[in-house]
Amino acid sequence: MMHRSRVMPLVLLLSAFTLAQQTPPQQPSSQQPSGASQEPASPEKPTPGTESKSPQKNAASTENPPQTTAIHNDVVIRGGTILTVTHGKIDNGSIYIHNGKIAAVGKTVQAPSSATVIDATGKWVMPGIIDSHSHIALDEDVNEATSPITPHMMMKDAFDYNDKKIYHALAGGVTTSLLLHGSANMIGGQAVVIKHKYGLGRDDLLFPGAPQSIKFASGENPKRVYGQRNQLPSTRMGNFEVMRQAFIEAREYMRDWDDYNAKVKKGDKDAKTPKKDLKLEALADVLRGKLLVQIHCYRADEFLTEMAIAKEFGYKVRAFHHALEAYKVADKIAANGVAIATWPDWWGFKYEGWDGIPWNAVISMHKGVRVALKSDSEDVTRRLNQEAGKIIHYGVPEDEALKMITLNPAWIIGVDDRVGSLDVGKDADIGIWNSYPLSSAALVDKVLIDGDVYFDRSLAGLGLTHYKEGQ
């Protein structure tokens, strides 16, 4: 079953949902919600280049600067229709890439004559797609479902950089993904942010300097997973109480350390060193505002409770994931600056998904919520462009729909100052498409990450440029 589920299409995963009730909690269809933004996207007030300052960078990743994967020369993409995301569409435009960064975008660009030219005549050029909710490349180690509170689980420890699903998503135009813990636990593990540089080594795929996110969940999954073992929590009351208890313990832990540090500072040599506790340390990081909180959440009442608990303990919610009922309380979500990462139209697979509607994104957007479309699926991550196209038919303007798979998910992950639009200074993560990307039949021809081509559909074999068979 575990292995089967890897190849099961989305639909089958859904129909297999009930089966999860009898078998151990494999992948309770990870779902998480998220919140709104300071400068919410709205059709009346588009958000041109509002790159919020991202929160605290992951200490680990800054200590450990990623290797530059290639020494790039200069590259020019010439002749395509460029969808910049932040400053409109440029017909027959060009992009100059220098050292992996976008150095110029416009009708014409100045570039050295030695630059490699990619002819994009007749093609469409857009930023790499960003999937803010994925569980690929974790070798099925998605849920440490042995306790409802596991904030010290690091998804990086399970990251399987050779997973072909990274390639499959790349071939669908995805360049960055947030790989999250599953939704079995009220407080799950800490995510890893990757770039889809398939074929390179593990550390080359880690998004350098990306902030650390942590996954929370709520609702049916935790209560089902623990409830069927007759453990706490088996209700939503239990869910939230387990969470509050954890934060109370984390506060005490922080106080112990504060007391100890104060004593040491005063020169007290007999001060007893408190025990280092990974779990409480991770929760303390939530309370210290060091982690972006990504919450799997469906129901309107639960968004409100989650935001109230966040307020009570003094942390911020970055985004509600899934968030199928966001449209019911969108104004409140917007007021809290929380974003949502949702599907365009997935619904009805469980009771808390029963009121999901395909107008969730458009209503939430109109009420000022920053909306991202995500996959939560090894299938859908390959065609998020189609998902964005679908949302147009449900009323989202085309430029906002594009933002929902680029800049908005970048904000959720906290890397919107680096990726998500075609702006000077940003990473040259770019998809070149054979037709208007937000369509049923559009295919990505080439994908560049940091200015280097990683996927080229015209190549024989897998279409990969950095991958060797048998690697």
């Binding site: 949902f17 071939a171 509607i357 299938d379 679908k390």
Partner: protein, 447 residues
């Protein structure tokens, strides 16, 4: 006495009237003549008509053609569809509509009977819930007809129904009962994995094949016994002694399971044979041929290597499973391009959503296949005329032709594109309100 006869006659008349009503579903709503004028008509059978006119009368398409050649009846309601695309209602060749409401809530599921692997006597029509909230969600995106199949955990999970996505009752919506029988041979039917970690027979493909073969043999044997009994009965029982071995003088015990297999063993109805891997496909097709079954293939996600052979058989294929993952060694588009590869070889294909809640997304799978090389005309045929032919309803559905049921969709663009919005849906010539559980929630909260 006379009075008694009168009462009987009256009863007969009443029941006849009822029958007539039944056979003409939604008759009350289809009397009005509706004309769609000015649209681009995708007729499927006779090309595209720009600036066309389509007349719907008494639930049927009464006329279709260029505006210059079709006259508009004077009492008709005329809808100006200039700039719009008009096409036949879409047909989804495998759904679970009416068999589930909330997937995770077992009490709302009637998907498959897993107590045994051979369950051909399970009839979808016995469970089909016509009032499901999922049907309006599907039809307002232009899906007007669908196969409802049991889920695939059994080798023979039951018999499909072909439905119309409108009607006042389940009875009206069930257009063809027992239209086909799924035969699943993907390995998932083995009772040794997933939910079936029971290690009961059959836990291997050998077991599945043997069990299936035995079931067909039992059905043949059952039929012979019945035939022998009938023969004996009609010949007056003189040959009692001679026929003793074949069944004696008492009728064989009626066996619904074996009885259900007979129309399929006679090739009267199609068996929908699902396999993904080449080895499974060969095993299952060999077995089906052994019993001379009429075959429609299903899935074939990883059987690209056998497509020439498939083409040679002439079997049509439901190829909706294009979102299945490629195998470890395959190129990313190995499954996406299957429909194109099949069409290239002349294989008749149809798409299916294999879904219930998101049946509405059926045309996008066809559109995606176009991206990977499927000719556009083949793609649209694969959700209209091809399935109508495969399910034996092409006399009534699948194209914009005079005399067919007026299942017609009007949209503001290419039916296969994700951005397109459906503006009108007609089923049996009656306009379907573009309302669902979801639009009601939208309207309540979008203020």
């Amino acid at each position: 006495m006379l009075r008694k006869i009168f009462v009987v006659l009256a009863l007969i008349a009443a029941s006849l009237a009822q029958t007539a009503k039944k056979s003409n579903p939604a008759s009350e709503t289809t009397n009005a003549t509706i004309v769609l004028r000015g649209g681009k008509l995708l007729t499927i059978t006779h090309g595209v008509i720009e600036n066309g006119v389509l007349v719907m009368q008494n639930g049927k398409i009464a006329a279709v053609g260029p505006a210059t050649s079709v006259s508009v009846p004077h009492d008709a309601r005329v809808i100006d569809v200039t700039g719009m695309t008009v096409y036949p209602g879409l047909i989804d060749s495998e759904t679970h509509l009416g068999l589930t409401e909330i997937s995770a809530d077992q009490m709302t599921n009637d998907l498959v009977e897993t107590s045994d692997e051979i369950m051909p006597h399970m009839h979808v029509y016995d469970a089909f819930h016509g009032e499901t909230a999922l049907i309006p969600v599907a039809r307002i995106n232009g899906i007007t007809n669908a196969i409802v199949a049991p889920a695939s955990q059994d080798t023979l999970p039951g018999q499909d129904a072909f439905i119309q996505l409108d009607g006042r009752s389940a009875e009206e919506m069930l257009m063809v009962r027992d239209v086909a029988m799924p035969l699943n041979f993907t390995g998932r039917q083995r009772r040794n994995e997933g939910p079936f970690q029971t290690h009961k027979f059959p836990s291997t493909r050998m077991g599945m094949a043997a069990q299936l073969r035995q079931a067909f043999l039992d059905a043949q044997d059952y039929e012979q016994k019945i035939a022998a009994y009938e023969k004996k009965k009609s010949s007056g029982g003189d040959e009692k002694d001679k026929d003793k071995e074949k069944g004696g003088s008492t009728p064989p015990k009626r066996d619904l399971k074996l009885e259900a297999l007979l129309p399929y063993l006679h090739g009267q109805k199609p068996v929908v044979l699902a396999a993904d891997e080449p080895n499974d496909l060969l095993t299952a097709v060999d077995l089906a041929n052994e019993f001379h079954l009429k075959i429609i293939l299903n899935h074939l996600a990883h059987s690209a290597s056998l497509l020439d052979k498939v083409a040679a058989t002439g079997f049509p294929v439901i190829v909706g499973a294009i979102y299945a993952q490629p195998k470890e060694t395959e190129r990313y588009d190995a499954v996406f391009k299957l429909p194109a590869e099949m069409a290239k070889r002349g294989i008749k294909i149809a798409f299916a959503s294999y879904d219930a809640h998101n049946v509405r997304n059926l045309p996008y799978a066809a559109g995606y296949a176009v991206g990977f090389g499927l000719p556009y005309d083949e793609a649209i045929k694969a959700i209209t005329l091809n399935p109508a032919q495969m399910w034996g309803v092409a006399d009534r559905l699948g194209s914009l032709d005079t005399g067919k049921l007026a299942n017609v969709v009007v949209a503001n663009g290419d039916p296969l594109d994700v951005k397109t919005d459906v503006k009108h849906v007609f089923i049996n010539g009656a306009e379907i309100p573009l309302v669902s559980k979801q639009t009601e929630l939208r309207d309540r909260y979008w203020k």
